[in-house]
């Protein structure tokens, strides 16, 4: 099912919005006990909204673009009146009194909230194993991780528990799980989509984006969620084009850059490398020209990121102190003790690790050597991209160095875990839009992701290239059997 097919079916009354929601709720009840993609399923609310859509259909009103589309939302996006936990004990009972801009736009466009999905606690992680409410499993093989931090959203789309989902991407948190779960994940240009209502992890890197089964659905979702928001000062005030308009445009003359630093990685799995290079050849067949590009600072991205993101996180998460809302530790004797005990009890170990790293990196005496140095390197990384885009229209890399790894494989080795974001982080540091889409499978039947990166605000081109590749390669046609894949 795709969004456009659903629209046709609704229009022709082959299916009602209620029937559709019921089907998805049924699917969730069947597979989610094994996958744990959802922290909360909002069945009643979804059915009420579906009935509204059906009324609209019956009265012959024109349907909004996402009418009846059942969507899952990563649980770090605030939903008014619906608990928003960030998969943390700290916010276990937090019910936002306001709606995030992105979800507000979705509901105005007729989409239906199916539920809130699991994530690494406060979006800090690459496997959805640091959630305080249990890990999510990969629908292709439940012994493997779905990636993270938006693992719940990726797994929910892959397993057919929803038609589409939203995630957030700070260093690869949409693209890496999309790659691991064999779905399409898009991180828009920084500022293209409002962050109002997205619980901040690292404010200068966070960006909301869609998960979908296909590129066209991603474009439809971006059409709805993109746009200026006066409530977010970092939101870009530039017009939103129709992202679906040029999907069908051929790629003739397109210059595709292959970042040599990515393909020379020693941690890059051979099967991933081969699959992605095959995808590059496919683009060549479609009329694109392949050009080797050097981004000398590309591999410094991860070190840069692991200074900047924790620095911002240490500040963003300071507000969780047990005073105003959220988890409060009982039995403290005084204020300082209460705040310390609440933070000690409310946060998991990965969150604490990053708060410590960030606090250290911003401390007097260290801020120059760490935080400021990292900002300088960030500028250099951006310059590498600027330089690359004078020579090519789009960059092509693997999304992740490997396919989905075994659950628990990196649980005691944070560095190994961090390395899985090696290839996705630079786009966040430079604020560039990037997409991950399936380009093949490994020997074990796990999906491999291809990452395309374009210049700022060139999502239209990004989606065009992704769509053309997707249609030509049709990798899902001969997909292996996945345990919870339809």
């Amino acid at each position: 099912m795709t969004i456009s097919k659903l629209r046709e079916k609704l229009k022709r009354r082959e299916i009602s919005a209620r029937e559709l929601v019921e089907e998805y709720i049924q699917r969730i009840s069947e597979v989610d006990p094994s996958i744990n993609a959802f922290l909360k399923v909002t069945s009643e609310k979804a059915l009420l909204e579906a009935d509204q859509i059906d009324k609209s259909v019956a009265s012959g009103n024109p349907l909004p673009p996402l009418a009846g589309v059942p969507i899952a939302i990563k649980d770090n996006l605030c939903t008014k009146g619906v608990r928003t936990t960030c998969s943390s004990r700290m916010l276990e009972n937090f019910v936002p009194p306001y709606e995030s801009t992105v979800t507000e736009r979705l509901w105005s466009a007729g989409a239906v909230l199916l539920g809130k999905t699991n994530l690494d606690e406060f979006a800090m992680g690459s496997s959805t194993e640091t959630s305080a409410f249990g890990a999510t499993s990969n629908p292709w093989n439940p012994s493997k991780v779905p990636g993270g931090s938006s693992g719940g959203s990726a797994a929910a789309v892959a397993s057919g528990e929803c038609l589409a989902a939203l995630g957030s991407d700070t260093g690869g948190s949409i693209r890496q799980p999309a790659s691991f779960c064999g779905v399409v994940g898009l991180k828009p240009t920084y500022g293209r989509v409002s962050r109002w209502g997205l619980v901040a992890f690292a404010s200068s890197l966070d960006q909301v984006g869609p998960f979908a089964n296909c590129v066209a659905d991603s474009a439809e979702l971006l059409n709805v969620i993109a746009g200026h928001d006066p409530r977010d000062s970092t939101s870009l005030n530039v017009p939103v084009p129709d992202y679906c308009a040029e999907l069908l445009k051929p790629l003739k003359g397109l210059r595709v850059g292959l970042i040599s630093q990515c393909f020379d990685q020693k941690g890059l799995a051979t099967n991933v490398k081969n699959s992605v290079l095959k995808a590059a050849s496919q683009l060549e067949v479609l009329g694109a020209e392949l050009i080797d590009i050097s981004c000398p600072r590309f591999n410094d991205g991860i070190a840069t990121y692991y200074v900047i993101a924790p620095s911002e996180a240490s500040s963003n998460l300071a507000r969780y102190d047990g005073v105003k809302y959220g988890f409060r530790s009982e039995g403290a004797e005084n204020l300082a003790e209460m705040m310390a005990a609440s933070r000690a009890g409310g946060f998991g170990s990965e969150v604490k690790r990053r708060i410590l790293i960030g606090t250290y990196a911003l401390s007097a005496g260290y801020v120059d050597a760490y935080y400021k140095k990292a900002q300088q390197v960030r500028t250099l990384i951006r310059r590498d991209f600027d330089n690359a885009f004078t020579q090519v229209d789009i960059l092509l890399t693997p999304t992740a160095p490997t396919t989905a790894f075994q659950a628990g494989a990196h649980s005691n080795d944070p560095l190994a875990m961090y390395l899985s974001d090696l290839l996705t982080i630079p786009a966040n540091l430079a604020g560039l839009p990037a997409i991950s889409l399936p380009c093949g499978f490994d020997e074990g039947g796990m999906p491999i992701g291809l990452q395309l990166i374009s210049n700022v605000l060139e999502e239209k081109r990004l989606l065009q290239v992704a769509y053309q590749y997707e249609q030509a390669a049709d990798v899902m046609k001969d997909r292996p059997k996945g345990e919870f894949i339809l």
């Binding site: 605030c78 937090f94 936002p96 911002e312 300071a318 507000r319 911003l362």
Partner: protein
């Protein structure tokens, strides 16, 4: 002690927090109204709820830039907001959005007039380091104690959290408590002239912290600095500085040391007492706030705001004393409140003599306005009507005495002085024939005094004038009366 005092020089700098009186807070639409029930002017942004974001209130920027211009500061073309981080429950996010290394304005000065009873008034230029914008914190109420220590629990009120502040940091150019008080009061005056702040110290919309040390003469290195807080008036600032200067000198003179600390001014005991040691300097882990973009001010915008600045108190003082010839004292009194100066300006715009206008305004009118807690903009006697009254005196239509008699009614009800004088029949008798007739009558009834006068007892002139005024209810034109009297007595 005086001898010791003379060996030492105090070095004082002020940090002034000015609440900018915008309707809404600096980063959200919540109201800034003061004095309402706790937590009635809050919203998700004020409370720092997860997922909320700050958006800069553009009026705050305008007010801050205008304030900076009035303090002769250089406006930065490019500045930014930073996060100042520390854990305290009056700070909902546990960081304060402030400006650290790129403030909106730097390097300025103001000139203050330092006037003290029994001493020569002098002008002093005081340097200003910087002005930056930041958000105010909320307030903690400690139950069971006025301090955190000893309280059973604490309550927090976020009504004040997020109110826009301009923090103004002076250079350590101040040398006496009086100078400190004059500096603070000039800052307040300027902010009120600009109408960017109420400058109300009791309500906390103007708060001053003092940094103070003493050293042996102007070339000696700075001594250990002590910070003083909790002064609710300009006189408290002066007294706190004077107390602290004595305390520090006394310590050094008796071979004790001064520790770097924060002290609180105790108004009831008139002394400073230690609040907390500053030995372990706080690390605020400043970094640029990624939620807010850079602050850019175009040349056009800056010049537009500059063109909107009113005449400032020191400019008015100069104009009044240099151009209008008023005394420094009158110039100071008239310019203290903008509304009074505006009133004065409106009166002299009618062509009224500035010195005479100043006398009336700083005298009877000020007394009336102050004792009735009124505002010059709202008193019924309009400037043009005061001008009319003064004109009646100038042209000899009424005497000053009569003017004083009718002023209370004019102040209460306003209206034309000419009409009131006519209504009450208070017009001056300036008809020579009428005056001559009355004088002849007085001379006739007092032959002995006439004799004595003619014999040389010239003091009796006053007696005759007194009789005349008595007979005319003070309405006789005094100049004319004297002239006619002299003629009659010398004939």
């Amino acid at each position: 002690m005086t001898e010791a005092r003379n060996r030492w020089e105090a070095v004082i700098g002020l940090e002034t927090h000015v609440q900018l009186k915008t309707n809404s807070k600096i980063f959200t639409n919540a109201s800034t109204t003061f004095g309402d029930d706790p937590n009635t002017h809050i919203d998700p942004v004020v409370c720092g709820l997860p997922g909320t974001l700050p958006v800069m209130n553009q009026t705050v920027l305008e007010y801050a830039v205008k304030a900076a211009m009035a303090l002769n500061l250089k406006i930065a073309k490019h500045s930014k907001f930073d996060r100042k981080q520390y854990f305290y429950p009056d700070l909902p996010k546990n960081y304060q959005i402030s400006q650290y290394d790129e403030p909106i304005a730097e390097e300025g000065w103001i000139e203050v007039e330092v006037a003290e009873k029994g001493k020569t008034t002098y002008l002093k230029k005081i340097g200003i380091e910087r002005l930056h914008m930041e958000e105010d914190a909320g307030k903690l109420v400690h139950a069971g104690s006025d301090r955190l220590a000893g309280s059973t629990h604490s309550l927090v009120d976020y009504n004040r959290a997020g109110v826009a502040l301009a923090e103004i940091v002076s250079k350590p150019d101040i040398r006496t408590g009086r100078e400190a008080a004059e500096y603070a009061s000039e800052i307040r005056r300027i902010m009120r002239y600009l109408e960017v702040s109420d400058g109300n110290m009791q309500e906390g919309s103007l708060r001053c912290d003092v940094n103070i040390s003493v050293r042996q003469g102007p070339n000696a290195p700075f001594g250990t600095k002590v910070e003083i807080k909790n002064m609710n008036s300009f006189s408290a600032i002066q007294k706190a500085c004077e107390y602290e200067i004595k305390r520090q000198i006394n310590a050094y003179e008796t071979n004790q040391s001064i520790v770097q600390e924060t002290r609180l001014w105790d108004e009831s005991k008139q002394l400073t007492k230690s609040m907390r040691s500053k030995e372990g300097a706080s690390d605020y882990r400043y970094f640029p706030d990624p939620d807010l973009g850079p602050i850019e001010i175009s040349d056009e915008q800056r010049e537009l705001w500059r063109s909107e600045l009113p005449e400032l108190p020191c400019q008015k003082r100069h104009r009044y004393s240099e151009d209008l010839g008023l005394s420094q004292y009158d110039a100071r009194v008239l310019t203290d409140e903008k509304s009074m100066a505006d009133y004065f300006d409106a009166v002299i715009a009618e062509g009224t003599d500035p010195k005479i206008a100043a006398n009336w305004i700083t005298g009877d009118i000020a007394a009336y306005v102050n004792s009735n807690h009124l505002n010059y903009e709202k008193i019924p006697l309009k400037p043009i009507q005061l001008s009319e009254m003064i004109e009646l005196i100038q042209s000899g239509k009424i005497s000053g005495k009569i003017a004083k008699e009718i002023l209370p009614e004019l102040l209460k009800k306003g209206g034309s002085a000419t009409a009131l004088v006519e209504k009450r029949g208070l017009g001056m008798i300036s008809d020579p024939e009428e005056i001559e007739k009355i004088i002849l009558g007085i001379l006739h009834s007092n032959p002995n005094e006439v004799e004595a006068f003619k014999a040389g007892k010239k003091k009796l002139q006053g007696f005759f004038i007194g009789q005349l005024m008595k007979a005319t209810n003070g309405k006789a034109d005094p100049k004319l009366a004297n002239k006619i009297l002299n003629e009659k007595l010398s004939s």
